[in-house]
């Protein structure tokens, strides 16, 4: 990557955004941190930059790694301070349209709309049939859930009954 120009204020922020947009999510490297919707803001400070990030899950083990990646990628811009901002809480609805396409191409079904799990009454039993997910490989709707929790906190495990391939579903939260 060529060194970004650090001249005018506006250009400097643009250049920093450009760098930010290249940083992949460490656990789902098919999409960038920006596409995942966890970069809230980027501001200039006296000696460098301030990046506002938001965690996806309280216990996401990648949180520290993401901060290190951002700091390293932006080091050419001076001192990088990172602010972790919880409110408003991240929702999978913030994953961009482009990010969703990339997830599907990577073999992960992107999340449906977050159901507002906070306020709605929860149906504990006799739930309506789960939304049928289309297999990201063959498109078949003949799929079933294998496990509510997958390889990372943000995903559940499914399999396609038509092509017999397992696949992951990015949970809507």
């Amino acid at each position: 990557m060529t060194a970004p120009t650090l001249q005018n204020t506006c250009g400097r922020l643009d250049a920093a955004w450009e760098v930010l947009r290249q940083i992949p999510d460490p656990e789902v490297p098919a999409i960038s941190l920006c596409e995942l919707g966890i970069v809230r803001d980027l501001r200039e400070t006296a000696g460098g930059l301030e990046v506002v990030l938001t965690p996806t899950y309280s216990g996401c083990p990648a949180t520290e790694l993401i901060q290190d990646d951002v700091r390293a990628a932006l080091s050419a811009f001076g001192e990088v301070s990172i602010i972790m901002q919880r409110a408003p809480a991240w929702t999978s609805d913030w994953i961009s349209a482009e990010g969703r396409d990339k997830l599907r191409a990577y073999g992960i079904v992107p999340p449906g709309p977050a159901a507002g799990s906070a306020g709605q009454p929860i149906r504990l039993v006799h739930r309506a049939a789960m939304t049928q997910l289309a297999c990201p490989r063959c498109g078949s709707l003949q799929t079933e859930k294998l496990a509510a929790f997958g390889s990372t906190p943000c995903k559940a495990l499914y399999r396609c009954l038509a092509c017999a391939e397992p696949f992951e579903y990015f949970k809507p939260i």
Partner: protein
């Protein structure tokens, strides 16, 4: 980090936060013990994932409690350097993963259902806390609690409405854990102060809704509610069961053996 044990302050807000944060920390530690022992691989992943959620919530809550306490203690110091009497989780959280076997799946799922329902109701209320930091933690955690509750409810119904053996084990777990639920709804001066400050609800306020969730799932599982118990545990005041010391020995081992160790 110094190796000496630390103490927390007596401010009600700090105690209120630690009761919740310690509940997450200690149950998270217990669920972590399932890693490699669950009946199927999928459930191994689920229990580990739920442990991760709870420990993530504990990190945020302990950090916030440390800030309110004003003694400069961070999440690690609070998690690893307190002595037993300084932990304020209800005893329910520290009970082992089974009374009759070291890993009793019915026992764990039933506790998870009861606790995730309680946490869900608590976090829902805490989203409106006068403390913006606590409200933000709750707004994130409430979604995680809802997912955990769903998962545990599925198991309670599946086991309760399963074979005679699975139903009997679930009913046994129900009986064994029942007396320890009382502490989740026993409000005291710490709750009264939290209500007065707008920090959060008195835990006793959560009882009717919690009972309604339990009744719905138990009826579908074909299980019967045990009779009310007069037993009252006292973990919220730092008086724990015999299981807590053993849990802390494992939880704290590294920081006690290698003070300030990091990786």
């Amino acid at each position: 980090m110094s190796e000496a044990s630390i103490k927390v302050g007596h401010q009600p807000a700090v105690q209120y936060l630690l009761r919740i944060g310690d509940s997450c920390l200690i149950l998270g530690q217990r669920l972590g013990e399932w890693c490699g022992h669950a009946p199927v691989l999928e459930e191994d992943l689920a229990l580990s994932n739920m442990a991760l959620d709870l420990i993530g919530q504990a990190r945020a809550l302990l950090t916030h409690a440390g800030e309110l306490d004003g003694q400069g203690h961070d999440e690690d110091q609070l998690a690893f350097l307190r002595d037993e009497r300084q932990y304020l989780n209800p005893v329910l959280m520290e009970l082992p993963n089974g009374f009759e076997a070291s890993h009793d799946f019915a026992f764990t799922q039933w506790r998870n259902f009861a606790v995730s329902t309680w946490l869900l109701l608590l976090y829902r209320r805490l989203q409106h806390s006068s403390d913006a930091g606590l409200a933000a933690i709750a707004a994130k955690a409430v979604k995680e609690a809802a997912y955990q509750q769903q998962h545990a409810a599925d198991w309670v119904v599946r086991l309760g409405d399963g074979t005679p053996e699975s139903a009997a084990r679930m009913q046994t777990a129900l009986q064994q854990l029942w007396p320890y639920f009382n502490e989740l709804f026993d409000a005291d001066a710490v709750d009264a102060a939290a209500v007065a400050q707008g920090l959060g609800p008195a835990w006793s306020e959560l009882l009717p809704e919690w009972q309604a969730h339990l009744a719905e799932v138990l009826s579908d599982a074909g299980l019967t509610l045990p009779k009310a118990s007069a037993f009252m545990s006292s973990g919220k005041r730092g008086i724990h069961s015999e299981h807590m010391g053993h849990l802390l020995a494992e939880l704290q081992y590294l920081q006690r053996a290698f003070p300030g160790g990091r990786w």
